[in-house]
């Protein structure tokens, strides 16, 4: 065992490092870079400038085909780039969905001339993409979505509502899955499109989250016209296309959220219990030890995933545990740290709050981590079914035409 890069990986890492050193600020050690409360115009401009720079230097779409500006690189190089970028302050939050999920879906299903039109502008960050999947009636049960599309000559007319759409208000294009046949079982009546987010009839309303931020939107569709040429996959095959999109969810390889264990240790040194530093308290120490074991366990699980990628193998199922473990750990550490502060734990004012108020910030943002991108419950189902081979849940709507499926207490 060792943790060394191969010569090719080392050369790439040095190249990435040189690019980042030349164009970005290293992160300051102490102050955490907290998730912004939403991108303003200036933030969007910064993202666009950075993405263009990154694409021109060949660090965007690393694994993509060369004809679209990629390098056809092994996924391990993407991981290495992400690791290196994580040491720098770079603008984030505008392209992850589009480049990570939308364009890969386009590559799998769109026509060659459409790819020639859309891929490069997306890669350079000139055009922003969003993903319109979740609905008020279709979250964990995504295939229960109700937004409908009806054929009208060469077009389809979309009516309905999407929700939890990250960056819809900043997007030029979106991918969407809609119901085209309510008379068949739910998975069979779906169809997939891409569309212009500036189309008439689209109304976007930001969602005010419990954390105070506005990352997500509700998107309302009223008689929105989409040409049939923008259909991805066959009519009725939308569920299959959606699975392609979801398979492209990013491998968990970098993101350590703060506060993590080191932040808690630092805090426990400062806070006092019974006149002594909290770090000397047995109960506090045991909790810290438990989180450290989880935190390190995740880190070394990432290393196992990277090893598989480096060898050109598919990562094992252990990769599925990251978000499940991370989200609860973050919520629990945040809450515990605040408890150590006593009454002052309530305060988030900059001049008074401990540790840049990162514990309070995480307290209020972490509930979303346990829900977004697959809730804890769905992730446990996935592990149980795909890793352990346990049977799928019994479905009350199995084989039932969608329009006969119960939708609430009547």
């Amino acid at each position: 065992m060792d943790f060394n890069d191969t010569p090719e990986e080392a050369a790439f890492r040095a190249e990435a490092r040189a690019f980042l050193n030349a164009h970005a600020e290293p992160k300051a050690a102490a102050r955490p870079v907290l998730r912004q409360s939403g991108l303003d115009a200036e933030g969007v401009a910064r993202c666009k400038t950075w993405q263009a720079k990154k694409a021109d230097a060949g660090f965007a779409g690393l694994t993509w085909p060369k004809r679209f500006g990629g390098r056809e690189a092994s996924p391990i190089l993407q991981v290495i780039y992400n690791q290196e970028e994580d040491d720098f302050v770079v603008p984030r939050g505008l392209y992850e969905i589009g480049l990570g999920m939308c364009i890969p879906t386009m590559m799998a299903y769109a026509k060659p001339e459409q790819l020639d039109r859309y891929v490069r502008p997306a890669l350079r960050g000139e055009e922003v993409w969003c993903q319109l999947f979740s609905e008020p009636a279709g979250g964990s049960d995504l295939a229960a979505l109700r937004t409908k599309a009806e054929r009208d000559g060469d077009d389809w007319i979309i009516n309905g509502q999407k929700i939890w759409t990250s960056g819809a208000h900043l997007s030029d294009f979106g991918i969407i899955v809609v119901r085209t046949d309510p008379n068949v079982p739910k998975h069979e009546g779906l169809t997939f499109f891409f569309l212009d987010m500036k189309s008439p009839g689209i109304e976007i309303r930001p969602i005010h989250q419990m954390s105070g931020a506005r990352h997500f939107n509700e998107v309302f569709f009223t008689d929105v016209r989409v040409p049939d040429s923008q259909r991805l996959g066959a009519v009725g095959q939308g569920w299959r296309v959606s699975l392609t999109t979801l398979m492209n969810e990013r491998l968990a390889v970098g993101d350590v959220q703060r506060p993590d264990v080191d932040d808690l240790v630092e805090l426990a040194r400062k806070m006092r219990i019974n006149g002594k530093p909290a770090i000397q308290n047995g109960a506090v120490r045991e909790r810290i030890a438990e989180w450290q074991a989880r935190s390190q366990g995740l880190k070394f699980t990432r290393f196992r995933t990277m090893t598989a990628l480096s060898r050109g193998e598919t990562p094992g199922p252990e990769n599925s545990i990251h978000k499940l473990v991370n989200a609860s750990k973050l919520q629990d550490i945040a809450s515990y740290g605040i408890d150590l502060m006593g009454a002052a734990g309530l305060v988030v004012d900059d001049d008074l709050a401990e540790a840049y108020a990162m514990f309070q910030s995480a307290l209020l943002s972490s509930p979303s981590m346990r829900i977004a991108g697959g809730s804890d419950e769905i992730l446990r189902n996935i592990i149980a079914e795909r890793v352990l081979g346990l049977p799928p849940d019994i479905r009350a709507d199995k084989g039932m035409p969608f329009n006969q499926v119960p939708t609430g207490r009547r």
Binding site: M1, F3, D262, A289, Q292, A293, A308, L379, N381
Partner: protein, 367 residues
Amino acid sequence: MNFDFSDDLKQLRDQARRFLSERCTPAVARRSLDGQERYAVDLWREIAGMGWIGAAIPEEFGGAGLGYEGLCVLAEEIGRVVAPAPFASTAYLAAEAILTAGSDAQRREWLPKLADGSTIACFALSEGAGNPEPDAIHARAVGGMLKGIKWPVADGGIADIAVVVACNEARQASLYLADLANVRRRDLTTVDPTRNQARLDFEAVPAERLGNGGWGAVQRVLDRAAILFAFEQVGGADACLHMARDYALERYAFGRPIGSFQAIKHKLADVYVALELARSNAYYGAWALGADATDLPLAAATARVSATEAFHLASKENIQTHGGIGFTWAVDCHLFYRRSKELALAIGSLPFWKHRLVDLLETRNAA
């Protein structure tokens, strides 16, 4: 990044798994459970013959020279079958103590005998309640004679020699080596009868000192063993998860396999998560052992905490998944539940290792 066992070691693991699934069936552990034999004598001879006991012992001292990663791989398989054998006592603890603390002459004298299975060794540390700390050691070695009472000592009833933690004339704890031929001992009844545990009364028994390392040498042995124990615990946890999964597929209630209920699915998903975290931490420990890394103590404490928690969770939820039948003597769930506690209490229990982990974390952060 090359954070995985080599193909050769994976092959060794597969061979070990095949061998043990045939030769160390639950019936073998049950012979010890029911008091028919104090350890699996035939199995011990066979694994010695294959070089497992001396896996990490260098060839010049009669070992197989497979390195620590090899011993880690084997430890996982031993754990998977709750082997009733003095493997940990001899290979993780006594051989390691002699190898890391002993003189060249002591290594030459003892390691070949341990490696070929002809001599069984135990590690006499505990003196009743408490955890491995210098203050807890009251045994004395004065003028080459050892006095003190050690209990419980894993494999103390079947071992030929013991590595003993005792204080010297200056009341400094250190490692000693004693022949057990004339030591008064009695077997103890414990929660895990598949492993021999004994009380050893040293009443002026000749003992030779192993090195001059003081408590640091003791702790070094414990740290290194913690990683090997972690692999054994991971193997046990993995076996429990498989048992529970298989039963959840087979057992029907309310007209469906119980494995289709989220109450069971989510429980077993949580066991899987704990197991994979423990496995990843154990892997890091394996690397630290092989590389003799400065990070080894922290890696060991982390692996130990993670693996102890995982095996405890997996073994209790395995019984729970089985329901009433899992609480019977006839079904094997309790063998793992018992072993999980036996392994958790060897070389210091969970609270001890959690505190040690934070001690080490503080030291590292202060550096």
